[in-house]
Symmetry: D2
Subunit: 381 residues, 4 copies
């Protein structure tokens, strides 16, 4: 297969990660791109990626149109630009009949997100939103444990995502990542909840299947002069009576990329940490906790399906990326849309993206209303 | 010195812990008691504790009065009965001029708590509320790090206390601890927040010195038919702008006694877990985290003062109990009242107890008001 | 009961630990002592311990003789002096009919050790050698797992004890502990193997019951000018075909008191670390490892019998000391000699001590013979 | 670039890992192969790898000869067959002027190994032996810490590699990996030492630069009827006085792939574990240990050079493979031979391979001589 890239010029980090993952599974070749609106940067990036000059485009709309007409046009596009450009770019490719893989958060408003989801659905196109952490085998194992009923009824979810990289005003010292993420125009209504709170929301939803009913959130901007939130306390009530707490934070000095999930049910609990993703603690009531390891004994089919190395040979984040891309690319080949809770948990879709965008807006709304409970139900297509 | 015990008959667990700690430092002999209102149990407990029959009393009031008149009367009393009896028992001993060590939560209402604090103050008596976890050397080290300014301004506090022992309806199967803790008459307005939420509140206050301004709490009773809360999500805003989250939970299957504290400042963060209390993670901005160990290098005076064994020779909870009792008993000998943030952090006092009781009521009040922010400022004597 | 102390003057650390443990269980009162050969230090220590002047003795022999004749004489003696005095002191008390608790290593030669063991046996006296680490509940759990056959046949034992306190020439800078331990006259033929290698030997024997057949050891003195070993590599062959490796080391910079044990059998393995003694990893073939916790689910009777606090409330080294003293003192009361592998593993005896002394000599012998295999079988009474 | 593969038919695991790593960095395309001596398997593997039928060869010698003559011939070959075929295969490609990447252990005898090294040197060819674990960034950081003198003089090295996969007689139940590794004809004089003991030897050498002088080894075959060793205790004396212990083991029930390294110097120590490769413990004398993290603060140039993801985004074994292949492929492009301790530690070479083969033979020799010390000095070209 062939794919194109929107974004990825000098200074971008995540585009290279997408490419490495796709290369790792030899799923597709990067053959076209609109890497930057700056002509020189666009050309330079193309050279770096070995993309032929005639397939380097000045705009994503031109890229979408022209690739759609080529016999050897791209099978899918990867979009890794700042949030505010996602909607228009995704739309351009969908309208030209090209499957899309887009970074999260999907876009700036729920309406935009639903429009993209609808467009994809109506045109029979595939759409992945790259919530990569669901690609880890043991996250899929966690989901299988919940689904199989081994946790009983879920009571409490504790999830968090502490980072430290915005503890100082990095947006003032030339950090490009910090600049756009803290800029309301490019990032939308939220920095921290949008950037990493959505990962928590997606992870919890993926593993537990729980549906949020109400949200009470308190967003804070600790760094003086920062225009958006850099930390948040979010309490959620789920349909059915469970309660959860999400703590995304970008000023947690000493922490790196600490996404972690703990789910407590009536019969058992699970604990998983992204920074050491090859182990999953599983504790049944009245039994000592067991340490499940990727590739190790007692795992289910989902974990086995998405494991590339034997136990004890650690898999990292690249392998998680490879997993969601393998699912996505296989689905493209076979035109299989993702379905919830089957086929060993394929890839995150546009509706995952839409749910994330609504989550961000719900949090902001609650926070502005002095942390009052607001409706947190997922959007419906 | 000599002391007496109120509570501690068969089925009590904590009375024996108090005694072991006091024995461990040879601070005082147990010579009197009112161990149970049941005459036979009272006698049996006395025999077990080697307390002479003439100093076994049918009521704490008689005990207080008669011990106060003896030449060899007790120097202090230890009160380990259910919450609802604390106030009257403490009062009886204070009125008879006897120093008091009482379990937490101190009593059922803030007024009662303040009355006890006032009584102690006015009579020049010492009053310890046994928030034992502040006795760990590395908790004192954590406080010293905060005080010394090494964390900078505190931004976020994450504290939790997951346990699993009330995951089922233990109060229906003869578990005495569960029976009284889930009974509003004996336990007061809260089970979980009162029993372990107060430990969180005290730990955070002890280490950070932060003063709560507002509280938004959601208390839940997951076990059907339970009359009080068994889990809570509590968000707190502190004076000065920091924010915190406390999660006490007694239905967290797979967890034992997981009190833990994380404090994130502008310059550094600390992390400590009660179940492995001999290590403290300390991470300064821009530096790799260091693992401070009890007795190890780079500790301050407070940790050194309250350490009994060389590094690598683990100290457990008994040593923490011994520490607060050593501070209390030394204070009795020298009639030194505890003072905040000096003398290497002595022992928790009646005002710590009062603050805890108000915290419980504030949480309940917020929860009943649909988690609205309520005033959470500490009580004033 | 009453006991006396030999050793324990200023500068001694371990005597206070013995006393704290005995106090913790209210097992006996310290009423007599020969704390130092220096008269002033002897008096000062007595005052510190609240021992009456008429029961402070200038020599252990006088102490033994005079205490033996008193109606209120001591029930047992605790000996905490340097190694070279153990034999004579133990002998004095045994000959006067007094039960003995002595620090390890028991004495300087195997003959001495066996003589003490014989004396105790012939006089019907109890003799504890304070290999304290066997007092931890999870070490007893480990033994129960081996005994019950759950590990299958043992194949490999990996045990180690890294410390760092002798990484520099502490004996030259006034460190009393270092001075006598590195002095052949006081310490015997070995420093490191004698001081902590014996703990490894005892721990392995206690848990596995394996009997050493052959030893190949390489002792090293890394610090220039040091007269005895400060590190050793010891390979052992056990009766039945298992193999083991012991690594005691006192120059392991960065390590504190890292005694750890791993036992691998045909069916399962266990791993335990002294610095976090409340957990025991247990891994059965074909199953994910489980984390057993002190006080937690799935433990056997031995661990339960010697546990003082509920799970999650950490017990430390004092509790392990209390356990061996509780077993010893109960045995004194009931005149029960320790028996192997029953009564929930009582206390380490004179024969444990003798085995340790022979182990030290076997290691030294092998090392001097260029690490040749030497006979390592245990001594026989 | 283009490469060919020898080995990799159905049942092979490691060939796919080589390919994934090379794909991950888009370094070269797999265009030729001799995947199996079985014609059908050879064809099937070729189809799986998308290798054109005319570049699938019945023998490695034919492959070497014919690829050498093509204009679009392979730039290098990857050899992943059992040990006994390495020598002939490597030789064939070297003689035809093709750079080689070969699995470890390099071959069956030291003479063979040196012959290959000489051949490569004389022909100016590059030769990598895939000791992959040296590719981890924090292993390179460890080396930099040693080189920079921060550990002082090294005294003790403790290294181990416990696995459990040969705890039963897997060679009798159709496990292909087990069958050839336990077969002296295919595996050579050793199974366990050859397969994983060599990884220990290489890791220690890479990090510390220490040169072995003497070896005392005890090899054991725990599983009845097994023809080669499945566990070993190896003590080594290094030039300069340091001592080390290596424990490779394939019957360690409960362990997966536990390569770990600890190095203790006069000034500091380091500890690293392959199963959680993104952290490195570094403890300086008199300071609390610090936890270095891949991508985190305080790392040197080597770790930075070979890091692909920001801190907290775990890298696994694939990234380590990618690192050695990136170094190897860059060296091919620029015809740079690896040099010790410079250019940020490139890739392991034929002389690493030769040293490993001699290590295996030294261990076997010592073990057969009742664990006597034997010469363990590295081979010289």
């Amino acid at each position: 297969m062939r794919y194109g890239l929107v974004g990825g010029a000098a200074g971008s980090f995540i585009a290279g990660v997408h490419k490495t993952a796709i290369d790792m599974i030899s799923a597709a070749d990067l053959v076209a791109g609109c890497f930057s609106r700056d002509h020189e940067k666009n050309k330079a990036a193309a050279a770096g990626f070995n993309v032929a000059p005639d397939r380097v485009y000045p705009s994503f709309s031109e890229m979408a149109e022209r690739e759609a007409t080529r016999d050897d046009g791209i099978n899918f596009v990867v979009i890794t630009t700042p949030n505010n450009t996602h909607y228009a770019a995704c739309r351009a490719f969908l309208e030209n009949g090209i499957d899309v893989s887009c970074d999260k958060p999907l876009c700036l408003t729920v309406d935009e997100a639903l429009e993209l989801a609808r467009l994809a659905r109506d045109k029979g196109l595939l759409f992945m939103v790259t919530y990569v952490y669901t690609g880890y085998p043991l996250v899929r194992q966690a989901r299988e444990l919940v689904e199989s009923g081994q946790l009983g009824d879920i009571r409490v979810v504790m999830a968090e995502y502490p980072q430290s990289w915005l503890a100082d005003k990095a947006e003032d010292s030339g950090n490009i990542q910090a600049m756009w993420r803290t800029d309301p125009e490019q990032s939308g209504v939220s920095c921290c909840v949008g950037d990493i709170g959505t990962h928590i929301e997606n992870m919890v939803h993926f593993v537990t299947g729980l549906e949020i009913e109400k949200i009470s959130a308190t967003l804070t901007s600790f760094v003086e002069g920062r225009l958006l939130d850099d930390s948040a306390m979010i309490t959620v009530k789920y349909k059915g009576g469970a309660i959860g707490h999400y703590w995304p934070c970008q000023v947690a000095v000493g922490r790196e990329n600490g996404l972690s999930l703990r789910v407590f049910g009536t019969e058992a609990s699970i604990e998983w940490q992204q920074e050491n993703p090859n182990v999953l603690k599983f504790a049944r009531k009245g039994h000592p906790p067991v340490i499940l390891t990727r590739g190790g004994p007692s795992l289910g089919e989902a974990a086995a399906r998405w494991t590339r190395l034997p136990s004890g040979h650690p898999e990292g984040l690249f392998a998680a990326w490879a997993n969601i891309y393998e699912a996505f690319c296989n689905s493209i080949k076979n035109k299989i849309h993702n379905r919830a809770f089957d086929e060993f948990y394929l890839y995150p879709t546009a509706m995952d993206g839409a749910r994330g965008v609504k989550f961000v807006h719900d949090c902001v709304k609650s926070s502005r209303a002095d942390s009052a409970w607001v409706d947190g139900t997922p959007p419906v297509l």
